[in-house]
Symmetry: D2
Subunit: 462 residues, 4 copies
């Protein structure tokens, strides 16, 4: 093979090596996404730094990273040693330089993601190989070690079990602060938080958990207002920004928080924000210490599989690719609202507008009940049927909410479960536009929703 | 294509379908291992039951299982929804029948593994997508919910940080019970446990954690003795059987526990026992309720990646394959001891025999110090050098232990760190034989150890 | 897992099974492209029908389809038996019902491709696992068996070695018919063909090979005119439609051929028309017999790897996807011409327009020579440098053609090699727009071409 | 990540790079097999040298190596350009330095395979991406170009269609030389070859094709004797060593050929000798020129998929791994013979011993006919049934041969088709032991054969 051809070929190898070195040195999210072959070469090179992939070796320990199944080995590029050591999630492993490097780089990328898309004041960030619920629990445990006498966590109600259970599983007690109803939106009740703090005393309250991303008609919490209340108190402020990186409303709320008061930790889902399978969370901290404390309080080693997914995905997207996804999502949200408006027109229903929720939207189904002549007693069955009709037509993620349900989680009883508030008395339907959604999803949903509404409105022949 | 050829071909498809149905119906670990193609077909069929893999659909929720990267999607066979729901790790997901089925089947296989290889009295078992440390913490939290007034955990000392940190991260306080030195082995001090219980009172003690698999010269704990002490007390008994499935000594200890007294939970590592990457644990319970409580106390959803690894690996091994691995491991342990004996003869060192440890063995390095003329002050440097020489020769897992070190973890100070006891005054080296080890590993280790010992014994020329 | 969730999941499995059955029954190219998971499930199911993938078996033959390497096995989905039997490429293999089915289905898809995109009168078609050159050779050998006394093949000159070598390797002798120069295009010289036939006699001429897709300024051959000349003669007509499926001009020429006279075989490249790796060709025949004869005259078995690539790719594209690719290609051709025009304006060069070539376009570089003051003797070096400058800037596929070169292939001497004709006296550059090209390719090319032209025009400082 | 850990990790990367460089420089088959990860890293690095994998590029040619389907791209590691250029199969491609390098290296490995396992006097060798039949045809065409007046090919009869069809498809005429019956073996009739040559004259005879590997009771041809006859004649000698690399008998015959007379080309199957899928052949030449001529006479480009399979497989095996396979095969052949002897004892049948065939063995079924009372007229049906019974029990590769069948291939009529000779009058069954066979295959076969023979011997109840 003539040397000039080979040189041309090797130039690409050199370009790749430059990209790799740049990533190692700069630890920044590349602007342009990388192609799959480049990513696989890098991951394989990293993996080959783990001792179980060494060519000549002898293992006489209790965990030598031997993988039995070929299929499993391939899934993990031969990496077997996971993340961290028994003392610290962030500690490098002598046996697994590659896995250690992978996790370190992923955390660097995630920090850059925070700076570029969420908040420039974040100081450190990491991928935790547990979903948001368990991760919030870990954060709360770490906080508790710092303030062992504070037993209460103020929880701004959002009707999703994980967060409340996270508080309980951390051995803490929640104080539920219900949202206020302003027009058709449910918004943060700052006065109530303030009065709870005053009543119980700052020393007894460990943390306030506010939530940004949520289903309409609940609004993104007033993170700024909460942060301001916590200024100069010892109370931690944890923001559950579950799928909020993609939302301008959520990101703005966090930004206001930084400017106005106390912010400690923001927790985000990797699957919902980065389009990877469920299983990881991003923890972003406003001090190096708090992230380091979390890493140290985690007992033992952990999976690096979630970091691998995030690493591959972020390199594949690049900053530009991610921006494009966010833009498309915002467009699809407008398109979804537009289409729902036309459904509302056709079926004489009402949109439930939320000022501060650009992810999810809702339509009231109250008029439908009246139109069809469903009694209050029949309502649950009637709306369960609507949900079921949609589900069996492969519409996913649309939720039909029936008011006046009650749910008990641990010791806490929540009235109006599903609506985030007992004040919400209307049955309604929510739908969201999130990363990766296509216009075709909206069209499919709207078509099926129209069909289902027509079916429901047919006079009953029984 | 002639129909008789096609029929021959379809027969295999039918055989596979029969194997699949048998697995679904019986939920037992197949005797014979499956080939990779069969496993991949099954996993793909299961994955295609998840809604994100449906061909016609519309997703308007906040988590639609969209995977951005092709590489990531392929790693997970397109499964994105993880395990469980916000209320319960064991709950099936409406959007993800496939992932739910996968996790359910994996738990059934793991229960069968328990029955076949560990203990027939186990009632329920599951794969938790966190490594043993964090899993033990989760178990303790669940126990604490049942007995909120019990604050203490009796921990039978083993010098590995995870378990101790797990106790602390569950918000509990450890009581360290040191082992007794009997000849050269460190064994369970039942009298001390008994006196601690009497002193503090059963009501204040939540749990005793005993450990089976460990490094020599520590022995497998006397699980039976501990279980007997806890009989008729409210104190939970959790056995940390980290990598003990492969060890007859550990399995027998657990079996004695069942016969003699109280057993609640056994925790095991998936990576060390099943040759998958780090990141999961098996929790086996002696009642349905305790497993169910753990599943319910886990906040939120979790990764199904660990279950997938276990599922694939167990089908690939089959019961017979696993038996063969265990037999080979036991043979290699004898081979390792034999070879170490010859090293001891050659270098005039002593084996440190443990009666009840068939995983790990140790040799005293005390005579080496004397032979070379190393002072007590020089000892740490001298033995650190031995560890380092071995490490840089790609010997993995052999540990050189220097006595009289102290380590503080949380509030707990442990003297003689590394030796599991302040009573152990000899420097020593440990090596283990675990699943998947080859004779070549032993040969490599012995050759390099011999080299390193010779280097160390050379008269210093400086 | 609740049965209604499972049923939802199984619905997709059923949908897939319906798609598979539809494909088997109808043997038509699906309108909509299939997703990768669906394709892989089908290919795995087909592969599992091959006897080497049977679960229980005993092989005592000389070829049992055993694959040594895991990587290789995976590349082929475990299929090892290739295509055909020693007697016939189209024959089904008793040991390999799956592979046989795969090849049969692929041929059916390819026939449908012919009907939908090339010519409705094609009667049979197949994928031959050799590239176009060797495939044309095979076709000619088959024809020769039918007419053993005919020794000559009339070859409408196109400056690419394969076709000419194919004639020679089939043991036949070419008669080169040069194209005519009409304005700036090179077009078929029908009169010359006619006079050659008359001179040598129809009995001595085996075949005429016309070529559709080619580089400008050569035009697509007048297939209709040639077909008309061959009407009522025993002379076979083979059309080399190498990458012409994507071109309206080529397809129209073939269609005219069918209406006006004799057509026997059309040969096409799989890589250039279907975006798969090099290695296969499509042979389309205007009678069942001729395809069957080709299959029978092929000695021995052959690789099914090319059929697998085509099968996967066609299912992935669907008819709609392929239409979209063709439309985009046509748009990019216009865009390429537009951009080249602007380059010509800027550098005072001339476009060389071809009436009947919608794949490739050319610009004359004659004026450049004059502008820079390059003598005729310096021309080859000068233009070689242009080619080389482009090549080392990663511009691929642009060719710089220098007139008055001579090339001897076998016994045949071709003057003006590279230009398809000794009549073409201008140096020129060609570029093409083919399937899968992106606008970015055009932009990259134009930018680099501009740079290179500027460099060449710089006054020489030596 | 601490630098000393990283350095340890990079050491493996360096080891790999050394292995790669050693392979490039030495071009020898490594003694030790490589692990899959190492192989994949190398193949990916090679693939990334192809221009279609460049990160920044613009393609304006007709073949830019664009691959549509992700699945297809992955199968080929992104390599799309195949092998060779229109002028020469061995020529490097400017656009595809990687693919060119891959093919060059593979040919070097294959040459080393020849030297190590077949014959030290081979001068050049290559992988041809066509199975043996078509490859023999290509060799004959190339020979014919050198000696256009020689029309005849002497073919030492073996009853397998490919080789005979290869002669015909090369436009040549076969002279069939039947084997002699010596005891129960069919052996080369040297006198007949000699008299044919004398009769027709050396000038008119292009080539003699001898065959080594074959089914008993045909023996490996006397390659030495044939070579001696051809010494000092212009007649080429092509040895069809289809699956003979694994056989000591075949290799010895070739070696004798080299020492005793004229040898030109040896053709071997890649699938049968190297356990890859069907589709390639190895051509080994006793002069540089003949291999070079074959490469030059091949019209156009070709698939590199077969070379890739061979490359991966040979690296995976290493010389040692291949030796082990060959040893195991020889052992299994003895085991097969042993087991067949016991079947013969049990069913009162005769072994048909061949002196010079260590691949395949046969047993006479004549006594069976007598035992069951089958008339000559019923024989075909009776033995077809035996074949079919075995086939439907998943016994593959065992052949039941019925004497006195006739087959016409092209112009040639062969009496006693299947037996390699009209002299063989006994029905018989053959079985072989080839690379990759397991003892379990033999056991399965013997068990099923025993069953089938018992079934056949049951008194008919109809």
């Amino acid at each position: 093979v003539p040397p000039n051809y080979v040189n041309m070929g090797l130039q690409t190898a050199k370009t790749r090596q430059k990209m790799f070195r740049h990533l190692m040195d700069q630890r920044k999210w590349p602007q342009e996404g990388w192609d799959d072959q480049t990513i696989e070469i890098l991951v394989n090179e990293i993996a080959s730094m783990d001792s179980n992939n060494f060519i000549s070796k002898g293992g006489v320990g209790e965990r030598e990273g031997r993988i039995y199944s070929n299929i499993v080995s391939r899934r993990h590029f031969g990496m077997a040693h996971g993340m961290g050591r028994s003392g610290d999630l962030a500690e490098a492993q002598p046996k697994a330089a590659g896995s250690s490097l992978l996790c370190t780089l992923t955390n660097a990328l995630v920090l850059d993601l925070m700076h570029t898309f969420v908040c420039g004041k974040v100081v450190d960030a990491m991928v935790v190989p547990m979903a948001t619920g368990m991760t919030i629990s870990l954060c709360l445990q770490t906080m508790k070690e710092a303030r062992p006498n504070a037993k209460w966590v103020i929880w701004l109600r959002i009707d999703q079990k994980s967060c409340l259970k996270a508080i309980q599983s951390a051995g803490l007690s929640p104080i539920v602060v219900e949202p206020k109803l302003v027009e058709t939106s449910l918004v943060t009740d700052l006065e109530m938080i303030d009065s709870v703090i005053k009543e119980r005393g700052t020393e007894s309250i460990l943390c306030v958990i506010s939530t940004t991303s949520c289903f309409a008609p609940r609004d993104c919490d007033d993170v700024g207002g909460v942060a301001q209340l916590l200024k100069n108190t010892p109370i931690f402020h944890l923001v559950n920004n579950a799928y909020g990186i993609q939302s301008l409303a959520c990101v703005r709320a966090i930004d206001r928080g930084c400017r106005m008061g106390r912010m400690d930790i923001v927790v985000m889902s990797t699957d919902k924000n980065l389009m990877v399978p469920v299983g990881g969370a991003i923890v972003a901290g406003y001090s190096k210490e708090i992230i380091s404390q979390i890493q140290k309080s985690y007992p033992g080693r952990a999976s690096s599989s979630q970091s691998l997914d995030v690493f591959i995905t972020m390199l594949s997207m690049g900053v530009k690719g991610y921006k494009a996804l966010i833009t498309k999502r915002a467009e699809n949200f407008l398109y979804l609202q537009l289409k729902l408006k036309s459904i509302c027109m056709a079926h004489k229903l009402q949109m439930l507008l939320s000022k501060n929720n650009d992810l999810s939207t809702a339509i009231s189904l109250g008029d439908l009940t009246r139109a069809v002549g469903v009694t209050e007693a029949e309502m649950p069955t009637f709306f369960t049927k609507l949900g079921s009709l949609l589900f069996f037509r492969n519409v996913q993620g649309a939720r039909v909410i029936i008011p006046s349900q009650t749910q008990t989680i641990g010791q806490v009883e929540l009235e109006g479960w599903g609506c985030h508030s007992p004040l919400y008395k209307l049955p309604y339907l929510t739908a969201a536009s999130t990363l990766g959604m296509e216009k075709a999803d909206v069209d499919f949903f709207i078509k099926k929703l129209d069909e289902c509404l027509k079916m429901l409105k047919k006079p009953r022949t029984d």
